[in-house]
Symmetry: none
Amino acid sequence: MKNKKELRAEETRKKILSAAGDLFSEKGYNAVSIREIAKEAGCSHTAIYLYFHDKETLLYELSMPHLMQLRKRLELTLKKEDLTPEIKLKEIGMNFILFGLELGNMYDIFLKANASRVDEAAPVEEINELRISLFRLLREAIGEYLSIESSDQLLAYARIYFYTLHGIITTYTPLGEPLEELRNRLGQTFEEAIDILLLGFKEKRGTGK
Amino acid sequence: MKNKKELRAEETRKKILSAAGDLFSEKGYNAVSIREIAKEAGCSHTAIYLYFHDKETLLYELSMPHLMQLRKRLELTLKKEDLTPEIKLKEIGMNFILFGLELGNMYDIFLKANASRVDEAAPVEEINELRISLFRLLREAIGEYLSIESSDQLLAYARIYFYTLHGIITTYTPLGEPLEELRNRLGQTFEEAIDILLLGFKEKRGTGK
Amino acid sequence: MKNKKELRAEETRKKILSAAGDLFSEKGYNAVSIREIAKEAGCSHTAIYLYFHDKETLLYELSMPHLMQLRKRLELTLKKEDLTPEIKLKEIGMNFILFGLELGNMYDIFLKANASRVDEAAPVEEINELRISLFRLLREAIGEYLSIESSDQLLAYARIYFYTLHGIITTYTPLGEPLEELRNRLGQTFEEAIDILLLGFKEKRGTGK
Amino acid sequence: MKNKKELRAEETRKKILSAAGDLFSEKGYNAVSIREIAKEAGCSHTAIYLYFHDKETLLYELSMPHLMQLRKRLELTLKKEDLTPEIKLKEIGMNFILFGLELGNMYDIFLKANASRVDEAAPVEEINELRISLFRLLREAIGEYLSIESSDQLLAYARIYFYTLHGIITTYTPLGEPLEELRNRLGQTFEEAIDILLLGFKEKRGTGK
DNA sequence: TATGAATGAGTATTCATTCAT
DNA sequence: AATGAATGAATACTCATTCAT
C-alpha cells in the first residue's frame, strides 16, 4: 500500500508521460521541448528530471507500455482458436497499423531505437526485443496461414508484410491527419492492401517459388 | 572555357553539395548544422551562403536533381515498348526503392514538403508536382498491367503499391546501412515483395472485387 | 515577505534592467547586444531571456515606467489649480525635456514605436496612446494659456511647442553629456526657449491670426 | 583633361555615392549594407572599397557636399542686400528644414559626427567645422534681426532657433513621409513655427530680458 | 518532493572587409 | 580598375540540463 506522497508522485509521473505522449505524437520528439512538456503536465520542468533521467529516457519509458500492449494484443489474436489463420493474420496487420497511426510522430522510435546506442542501458534493448518478438509473431501468423515451417522464405514473407504495414503508417503519420478521419477515408484501402498481400502470398506459394 | 576563379567556385560549390548530401542523408536534415557542413566541405560556414540562399535551399538544390532524374527514369521505363506491362511495373518499383535508399535520411522531404508551406514558392511546388506525377505514373503502370481504366479502384491499387515501396525505403533508410550491402542482403526480398504484390493485384482482379 | 530565491531573482532582474538602461541610453537600442547587457549585468546572456521575452520587450519594460510617470507628472501639473496657465505650460515643457534627456538614446522609441508594427500587440500600442495623450495635454495646456478652444490653430501650436521640446532633447541626447552637467550648462537656455515660444504664441494671437 | 579611364572611374564613384545617398536617406546608415549599395550602384561590392576607405568614410564623403551646399545657400541668403533681416532669417530657417528633411535618415550624422572619433582624420573635423560655421550664420542672422552684437544672449538665441529647426526635422525624418507630401501637409506649420519664434525673440528683447 | 535560477553549447544568418586574380 | 571568393566576428535566440534551496 502506498502513502500519499507516493501516490502524488505517481500522479505527476503519469501527467508528464501523458503530456509528453500527446506532444511527441503531435509534433515529433525533436520539436517538443522539456519546458513545453512541463507546462502541459502542469509541473516545473525540473520535476521531469526527477522522474526521468533525460528527454530520451522519457521517450523510451513512454513508448514502452504502448509497445507492450501492442505485443499483448497481437499475441492474443494469434492465440484465438476460433479464428481462421487468414483472419488472424489480417487482424494482426490492422492492429499494427492502428497502433502505429495512434503513436503518430512517435512511431518511428520503433525503428530508430537501434543498436547504435550500445551503451545506453535497458530501454533500447527492450524495444529491440519487442521488435523482435513482433517479427516473430508476424512470422508465426504467416506460417500458420501458409502452412509452412520457419524458414528463410517465411522470414522474407514476414519482412514483406511488415514493409506494407510500415509503409502505410509512415505515409500518413507525419501529416497529422486525425486517426478517425484517416480511418474513414482510407481504412478500406488499408484492408485491401492486406488482402492483396495475402492473396499474393498464397499465389506465390501455389506457383512454387 | 572557364577561368581559374570559376573553376574554384564550382569546386567549392560541389564540395558543399557533396558534404551536405552525405550529412543530410546520414543524419537527416535537421540534425545537421551549417557549420558542420562547412567543416566537412572544408570551407567557412559563411561560404555556404555564397552559394545557397538558405539551409533549406541547399536541401532543395540537393534533392531536386535526384527527383528529376527519378521521374525521367520512370517515365522512360513506362514508355519502353519492348517490355511487358508486368516488367515495366516491377522496374518502376525497384527504381523507386533504389532512389529512396540512395537519398537516405533525405528521402522524407519527398513526403514532408507538402502544401502546408504555401508561401515558400517554387521548390516545394516542384516537389509536389513530382510527387503527383509519380503517383500518376504508378497508376498508369498498374492500369496497363491490369488492363483497367482510371478509377477509384486503380487509385487504391496505386496507393497500395506505394505503401510497400515507401515501407521498404523507410524501414532501412534511418539505419544507415550502405546501399550496396543492403542490396546484396535484401535485394531479392524487395523484388519478391513487388512480385507478391503484383500477384495479389492480379488475383484480386480475377476473383472480382 | 520574500524568500531568498525571490530576492535574488528580483536583484538579477534589476541588474539586467539597470545594465540595459545604461547601455541603451548610452549607445542606443540597436548598438547594444544582449550579450553586452548580460556582461554588464553580471549574468549569462540566457538569464536575460528568463526575465524578458525579447530584446524588444526588455526595451519596452524599461521605458514604459518612465513614460507612465511622465504622463502622470504632466497630468498633475495641468490640474494644479494654484498655478497660472503660463507656469503650467512651462512646467510641462521642462518636465518633458528632462524626461527625454534622462532617457538618453532610448528616447527615440517615443517616436519610432509607431503604427507600422501592427502585429506587435500591447506595448507599442501603449506607447502610441501615451504619445497621443501627451499631445492632448500639450494642446490643452496651450489652449488654456491662450484662452482658445480646440481648433486647427491650437493643433498647430501644440505641434510647434513639441518641435522645440523634441529638438532640445534630440540635440543633446546622442552626445551623452551627463544630465546634471547639461542642466547646469544649458538649463537656463531651455527655459528661455520655452519663454520665447510662449511670448511668440501670445504675440501671434494678439496680432490676429 | 581626363582620359577615358579616369572618366569612367569618376562615373562609378558618382553612382556609388548616389546609390548610397538614396539608401542611407531612405533606411538609415545602419540598415544599409555595402552589398545593397553595390547592387543599386551597378558595381561589385569590392569596387566600393576602391573609392572609399570604408562604409563610414563613404557616409562622410556623401554628406559633405550636401553640407557645403547648405552652407553656401545660407551664406548667400545672409548676404542678399535686398531682403530684410527678418525675411533672411526666415529663409535661412526654412532652407535648413528642407535640407534636413531631404537628407532623411542621413540627417543625424550632422549631429553624431562629433568629437568622439578623435582619431579618425579629416571628414569628422570638416563636418564639425561646417556645423560651427552654420551656427555662426544663424547667430549673425539673428543678430542682424534683433540688432544686437555677438554675446552670450545671441548664442542662446541661435541655439533656440536651432532647437526648433532641428526638432522639426527629427520629428518627421524617421517616418519616411515623402518630402513633397510633408511640405503640403505641414509646410505652413513650419513657417508658423519660425514666425512665432521670431516674434518671441522680438518680444523678449523688447521687454528687456 | 519540488522548483526557480542559471548556464554553456548550439542554431541559422548577416556583415564589413580582405585577398587573389 | 575591377571582381568573385572567402572569412571572422557578430547577431538574437533556444534548449537540455544542473544547482541551490
